[in-house]
Symmetry: C2
Subunit: 458 residues, 2 copies
């Protein structure tokens, strides 16, 4: 193992240097990837030096999500203490289902859950777990809501038309999860948003009434804290009133921006969170841990047990249910995704997490200010968001983004809202500074002018 740890160290040095010197890896066309890189798996293995040079060539061409030029996804950057925790998790290799086999790592996961419950205003009967990604935590919320209102579904299956509600700006996993859970895509209602991308409580109420009038049974509303494109926050308090009226489970999908609970300045964006039934947040997004660290909490801890528990006497052999996390998990075996958040949180404190969150909003403001002071840009996003959406000189967003990527200049994507397509720059890499944001725009502008020139010449 010591030798492999040395190889790891050598490859890390190489990766960190590449990340700095070639922050946007030169992409290889999919049609050429198997010719240009030695990816084949064969009968015989390759020895250390050949393996290392093969790995270096792969690292060279792998997109650098931690570089200063990466603004493409709802994650990015690297925070040393979080990475340390995940590296340790790989070495320790505990599965989180039982205390017997995970020991104090169970205490670490529980400590995270307890503190997130407190910060969310969740009370006595709350609890939670981790799952593999925000789609899966949303899935768990949907299942808890379904089984809470219709406990017989667990034994007898679905036999009625039951309906759920989410905004048209919400994540696609809500509809997809309705398919997985046997409810059907036709029973997902896409509720209108206002011009900022926030779900309309009035339209929600109308659609619910119509469903009831038509003989269907509403059971679940999904609110979003940070929509995928604009980064908008639904008005939880307003939606909660509707949910109380009709006795519906209210879930908040905070995968992207639920981490505002750590910030005194920004937690008002999830005002009313304490009124909800479940809440999910991805620490690998705003908190900057490595992928994945997706957390879900609920104020109905018993429902978490009812929907996900299992009897397996070959597995649960010591200790109580509270410490055998498999009893409340979607999965059976589960890697330790808690430790990376714990090492970060432990080392910077809750105040440090607050700084991480606040800084991302500051970076977004720097970007918006730049755009607002420059007439060549049009801004499409709003305050209170770390998604900065814009166009530059009427250049089609998809052309500009794809060009920047293919020519190794910047990694940034595009999105759509109200039929407008625009560039979506995500200021989620918390180690960036003002000059990095300005460099982003300078790079884009230089590229655009070169690129336009090239088009003229061609």
């Amino acid at each position: 193992m010591h030798q492999d740890l040395q190889l790891f160290s050598e490859l890390c040095d190489y990766l960190l240097a590449e990340e700095k010197n070639n922050p946007v890896a030169q992409p290889i066309a999919t049609s050429e990837v198997y010719q240009k890189l030695n990816l084949s798996l064969d009968d015989d293995g390759i020895i250390n030096q050949e393996l290392i040079s093969t790995l270096k060539s792969i690292i060279k061409h792998t997109p650098k999500t931690a570089s200063k030029s990466f603004f493409n996804q709802l994650f990015g950057g690297r925070i040393g203490k979080a990475t340390l925790g995940d590296l340790l998790a790989v070495m320790l290799n505990n599965s989180m289902y039982t205390y017997k086999v995970a020991g104090p790592q169970v205490g670490i996961e529980k400590e995270i859950i307890d503190n997130i419950c407190k910060l969310s205003g969740y009370k006595k009967y709350s609890g939670g777990t981790l799952a593999a990604g925000g789609s899966m935590t949303n899935f768990m919320a949907l299942l808890m809501a379904r089984d809470y209102k219709f406990p017989e579904i667990r034994t007898e299956g679905i036999s009625q038309k039951i309906t759920l509600y989410t905004s048209e700006a919400s994540h696609y996993s809500i509809s997809k999860n309705a398919v997985l859970s046997g409810i059907g895509r036709n029973y997902v209602r896409q509720i209108k948003t206002n011009q900022k991308g926030e779900m309309s409580a009035t339209h929600l109420d109308e659609v619910i009434q119509q469903d009831i009038a038509d003989g269907r049974i509403p059971f679940f509303v999904n609110a979003t804290a940070g929509t995928t494109v604009l980064g908008a926050f639904d008005d939880i308090t307003a939606l909660s009133k509707v949910c109380k009226n009709y006795n519906l489970w209210l879930h908040v999908d905070g995968a992207y921006c639920g981490s505002v609970i750590f910030s005194n300045k920004h937690k008002h964006l999830v005002n009313g969170l304490e009124l909800t039934d479940s809440f999910s947040v991805n620490a690998h997004k705003m908190l900057g841990t490595p992928l994945g660290c997706s957390i879900i909490i609920t104020q109905h801890i018993s429902q978490l047990h009812h929907s996900f528990s299992n009897e397996a006497d070959y597995l649960y052999q010591t200790d109580g249910d509270d410490f055998n996390l498999g009893k409340t998990s979607l999965q059976c075996g589960r890697r330790n995704d808690a430790l990376k958040l714990w090492t970060l949180w432990k080392s910077v404190g809750t105040k440090g997490l607050e700084k991480i969150v606040d800084h991302q909003f500051e970076l977004a403001k720097i970007a918006r200010d730049y755009i607002n002071f420059n007439p060549d840009y049009t801004l499409y996003s709003f305050e209170d968001s770390i998604s900065v959406c814009f166009n530059y000189k009427d250049i089609p967003a998809n052309l500009l983004c794809t060009g920047l990527y293919e020519d190794s200049e910047l990694m940034v994507g595009f999105g759509k809202f109200n039929k407008k397509e625009f560039i979506r720059m995500v200021t989620i890499n918390t180690v960036l500074e003002k000059e990095d944001i300005h460099n982003f725009f300078k790079t884009l502008e230089t590229y655009a002018s070169k690129s336009l020139l090239k088009n003229v010449v061609n």
Copy 2:
């Protein structure tokens, strides 16, 4: 980052030394874990030296799944080249949904899938993906089968009584997944096994006929390659005949022992695999990668798309569907769980993986031989299995296992079959040798005699 990599190196040295010198960490009672270890998350962080000493105390008490005394789960041990790959995946931190953001890592995952398809005898229209654990790959198989026979469920939800079949010795996730997918636990049929724990094709046929006679619609059969307790292999060819008769999807849950496909000597245990519709295998079990590396393949690649695809134009912006793995994934964001298997496979070759698999069967034979030659032991498991099940001197298995754990002697669990409870020793740590297996028994015997003596004295 360099400083944190140095901390990681220091903590690895500590972990490897502990693993060797204290192979079974002293367990802390759950009631004391928060007092004995500094797990609390507070407003302020702690500085490097304090963090390191805190982490060392946590590592000290965390169960050592890679030690030579760990026989407790269906995984264990550590193989350097696989660990290297997973450590790199943490540093690279790509999400596998698009080629734009994962680049050659997509090629790596596809290369693994293609080779596993070939080894399984899967033909032209086959493909697959990775998911978070064997429960989730079984879930994907169930959903594909459901949507293949009843495509309208995706839009209209479940409205009929549809039934699925699995043996009473199979993993609990089959029933749990029937609940998640809206089918209901009452429509899962537990098929009888023979005395070796293999599903009865005759009983399967009878139960299917009864369901059809009662107006229910059968659609899915789960066969197991390596049952959880005995490690038994269902007769795929026999089950396939029944499935063809009734037009049912046949899935093989090879989470535990599906890796026999790598062994010329043992692949006969999954004879008929090429006749099945889907097959799942966990590389973090027999192939010894870190958690998790769960693979599912199917001969209906279009069904993988139909059941799991999604339209998200903010996400899929370059390249074709074939290289945008999010289109066939259960999750949206997904960590890179492929690289660890690829680094292992690349470095030892398919022949090396064969050796890994074969050695585990050899270790199991060594254990069974030891038991068979010693009249103090009773053997409950069979040949062709890496689960070695036994009792020693009529000592209740649960007492002996719990004692061995609490007194830091050995990590081993117990299981049940045909109302008999016994110790289940799993010989899955491929770096072990004959003497390690003999040491296991010597330790157990010494402990039992001390322990009996103690009981007499008390």
